[in-house]
């Protein structure tokens, strides 16, 4: 029950949500809701893991995972961007396909033993800083560091660059962007693809770094959906995504650790003596997501910062209106 360990584990596990949710932020900012995150993560997880099992090269696994997630997302892109399919249904279909495909590809993988993992790094210097050092810069997977870089980069990209301007425009008012020569279709493809790549990366973060191994659907076990919830909580802002992701993972870890000790300061731990109660404890992260989404929705209503205005609306060229 060391808070530093809980926070450090929160950062490690939070990296998974971070990648997936930032990918979803990009897709949704472009106006495409992709509910297939769970499926894309599973594909990334299984593709990465299978690659490492057969080649032993975790870096190759990482690349394959990202590519696999990206390729799967293109299915959603074609359906929603070209065929103007309902984005909710298409996203659900993507999850079904992803889960099924992952099961097929994962056949036999669960018996695969230990594999080589991505390296962990302790940053000299920074790791000595009290609290921050041990939490963020000690024995963290290299992917966690990628996350630290990704968050500000994503924020700057959205708010301080020309492509970010285009991105915001196609998600808010594609007709206006198109009239000004921004290629709405191409950019939407691009950002859905980027979302897929990051979801694949999130999946690989599980199997190649945080919780190595293949456990079927449970490998991802709903984390993709939680990432979608985090995006709403974070109001489509990468920095809030990071805060939400790390915090959520830390709380989940805390709930897990609560079951460990026999007693707290002499008071017997009910979760230790009645393992059955852990099922109730296990509900808390999901309750937490619901509360986070409620909080996000309320704040969005109050501050009038809603979802990108064109989110979920197919863009049809030559027809006017938002």
């Amino acid at each position: 029950m060391d808070p530093i360990i809980i926070l450090s584990a929160g950062v490690a596990a939070g990296t998974i949500y971070l990648f997936a949710a930032i990918g979803e932020v990009f897709a949704e900012r472009a106006g495409i809701l992709n509910l297939g995150v769970e499926g894309m993560m599973l594909i990334g997880a299984v593709a990465g893991f299978a690659t490492v099992v057969s080649t032993g090269n975790p870096w190759l696994g990482l690349a394959v995972a990202m590519l696999a997630g990206g390729l799967l997302s293109l299915l959603h892109a074609v359906m929603t961007i070209h065929f103007q399919a309902d984005q909710v249904v298409s996203g659900l279909a993507l999850t079904l396909v992803g889960v099924g495909l992952a099961r097929v590809l994962g056949e036999g993988l669960s018996k695969a033993g230990g594999t080589s993992l991505l390296p962990t790094i302790t940053l000299p210097g920074l790791s000595q800083v009290p609290v921050v050092g041990p939490v963020f810069f000690t024995d963290q997977s290299i992917l966690a560091y990628v996350g630290y870089v990704l968050v500000p980069v994503a924020w700057l990209w959205i708010h301080r660059t020309r492509p970010g301007l285009d991105l915001r425009a196609i998600g808010e008012y594609p007709t206006a962007a198109d009239a000004m020569g921004v290629n709405v279709y191409r950019l939407r493809y691009l950002y859905v693809f980027l979302g897929g790549i990051l979801a694949g990366l999130a999946g690989a973060t599980i199997t190649l770094a945080i919780q190595p191994g293949w456990f079927g659907d449970l490998t991802v076990g709903g984390r993709g959906w939680i990432a979608v919830g985090l995006v709403i909580f974070a109001r489509w802002d990468p920095i809030r995504v990071a805060i939400g992701a790390y915090l959520f993972a830390a709380i989940t870890r805390f709930l897990l650790d609560v079951q460990g000790p026999r007693d707290f300061l002499g008071i017997p731990n009910p979760f230790f003596f009645n393992q059955n109660l852990t099922y109730l404890l296990g509900m808390l992260p999901y309750v937490l997501v619901i509360l986070a989404v409620i909080a996000g929705s309320r704040e969005a209503t109050r501050k009038r910062i809603g979802a990108p205005a064109a989110l979920g609306v197919p863009y049809i060229r030559g027809e006017r209106g938002v």
Binding site: F83, L96, V97, R103, G222
Partner: protein
């Protein structure tokens, strides 16, 4: 003055462009034809997948047909699997009609099963109560539990505008843990992850129970649930097509602002539809524990609540269509159990859904390929005269 900056020029890779022209009218035959076409295309793609993973698609499909419809016995089995799919499919169809994305039919099914089990195990009724008390009590308790599970996303959506997709999904996980809490704990039969068997008065009657009267019923496990499911389908059909409430649901589903203009209380309907949707899914759970497993246990549903989404979609949210689609999917699930690897049937489901939503574009647009002129993208003139 500024030097005139020019917009970026984007290159196109293909000499042709897909052009969509809005349809001015939809022929009556087209929706059904496109649905059937989409399913066929999906099955072909599924066949390719089976072939790729090393199976024989023709044999797999003929096996599915035989294993699902080949004899009275297997047909009965198919209908047993179709029963929860009809209930959950109706739950989804009703909610989707109002554009409420209830992805939580699975959780509502689990809660319905829990509610029905609570009647026996809590217990709400004495062990030796007659079936005439048990069955209605279980049905009511299961529907109530499912409705309650639907109430939560309904009220959150109606009052606070909270995204119902995330809430219903999370409630699925919570319901799963809730079931586990009981079957591993208070209701566990000597430590196993299932409860004791219900008394027979708490079972839905099956055809095979009447084998004494009708010899032909031997081994037919089809139970009361299918009758309830068909009644429910007729009920939902009547609500949607012939009732004032159903008119309101259709109006809200098509245009919430028009519904508000017509004086319809959207928030109230959101909650009510979610609760009825939950109650229908809850019935699926009742039907499973009372008609099939006769106890509560872990993993008794192979994801009926998720397949229901496709069932509702394939039926175009039409309750009668739900019945047909549910039977088809029951066949796929039942016979699919023997298709290896295990992920293939799930994938085919997803592919069917993709083909369906892809085919919808045919209903709204004429698709034409247009030759590009020079480098620039051909600009689609909408088919409606904008003079």
């Amino acid at each position: 003055m500024t030097a005139a900056p020019l917009p970026r020029r984007s290159r196109s890779l293909s000499p042709f462009e897909l052009r969509l022209e809005r349809r001015l009218d939809v022929p009556r035959w087209l929706p059904l034809a496109s649905t059937i076409g989409a399913v066929i295309v999906a099955l072909v793609i599924g066949g390719v997948i089976i072939a790729v993973v090393g199976g024989d698609p023709i044999r797999s499909y003929s096996h599915i047909l035989e294993a699902a419809f080949g004899s009275i016995g297997v047909l009965s089995d198919t209908l047993v699997v179709a029963t929860p799919l009809i209930f959950t499919g109706l739950a989804c169809a009703l909610a989707f009609r109002m554009r409420l994305w209830n992805i939580g039919a699975e959780g509502q099914l689990l809660m319905g099963a829990w509610g029905a089990s609570a009647v026996v195990l809590l217990p709400l009724l004495p062990e030796d109560a007659p079936a005439i008390l048990f069955l209605p009590a279980m049905i009511v308790a299961g529907m109530a539990a499912g409705a309650m599970w639907g109430f939560i996303p309904g009220i959150l959506k109606a009052r606070l505008g909270v995204n119902e997709i995330i809430v219903t999904l999370m409630l699925n996980y919570i319901a799963l843990l809730w079931i586990e809490f009981w079957v591993f704990g208070a209701w566990s039969e000597s430590g196993f992850q299932l409860t004791r068997q219900f008394p027979e008065a708490a079972w839905f009657p099956r055809l095979t129970d009447f084998v004494d009267q009708f010899k032909g019923f031997a081994g037919l496990t089809i139970h009361l649930g299918i009758v309830l499911a068909l009644v429910a389908a007729a009920f939902v059909w009547f609500i949607l097509k012939r009732s004032r409430w159903g008119y309101e649901i259709r109006l809200i589903g098509d245009s919430p602002s028009a519904a508000r203009y017509a004086g319809i209380d959207i928030a109230r309907n959101t909650v009510l539809v979610f609760m009825l949707s939950g109650a229908l899914a809850g019935l699926a759970g009742v039907s499973e524990v009372a008609g099939v497993v006769h106890r509560l246990q872990q993993n008794f549903s192979p994801g009926y609540g998720f397949t229901a989404i496709i069932v509702a979609y394939i039926a175009k949210f039409n309750p009668i269509g739900v019945v047909v689609a549910a039977i088809l999917f029951a066949a796929l699930i039942l016979a699919g159990r023997e298709i290896q690897p295990a992920g293939v049937p799930g994938m085919i489901q997803g592919v069917i859904l993709f083909c369906l939503i892809g085919s919808d574009v045919l209903l709204r647009y004429r698709v034409r390929f247009v030759r590009r002129v020079r480098g620039g993208p051909a600009v689609a003139g909408s088919a409606t005269a904008e003079a």
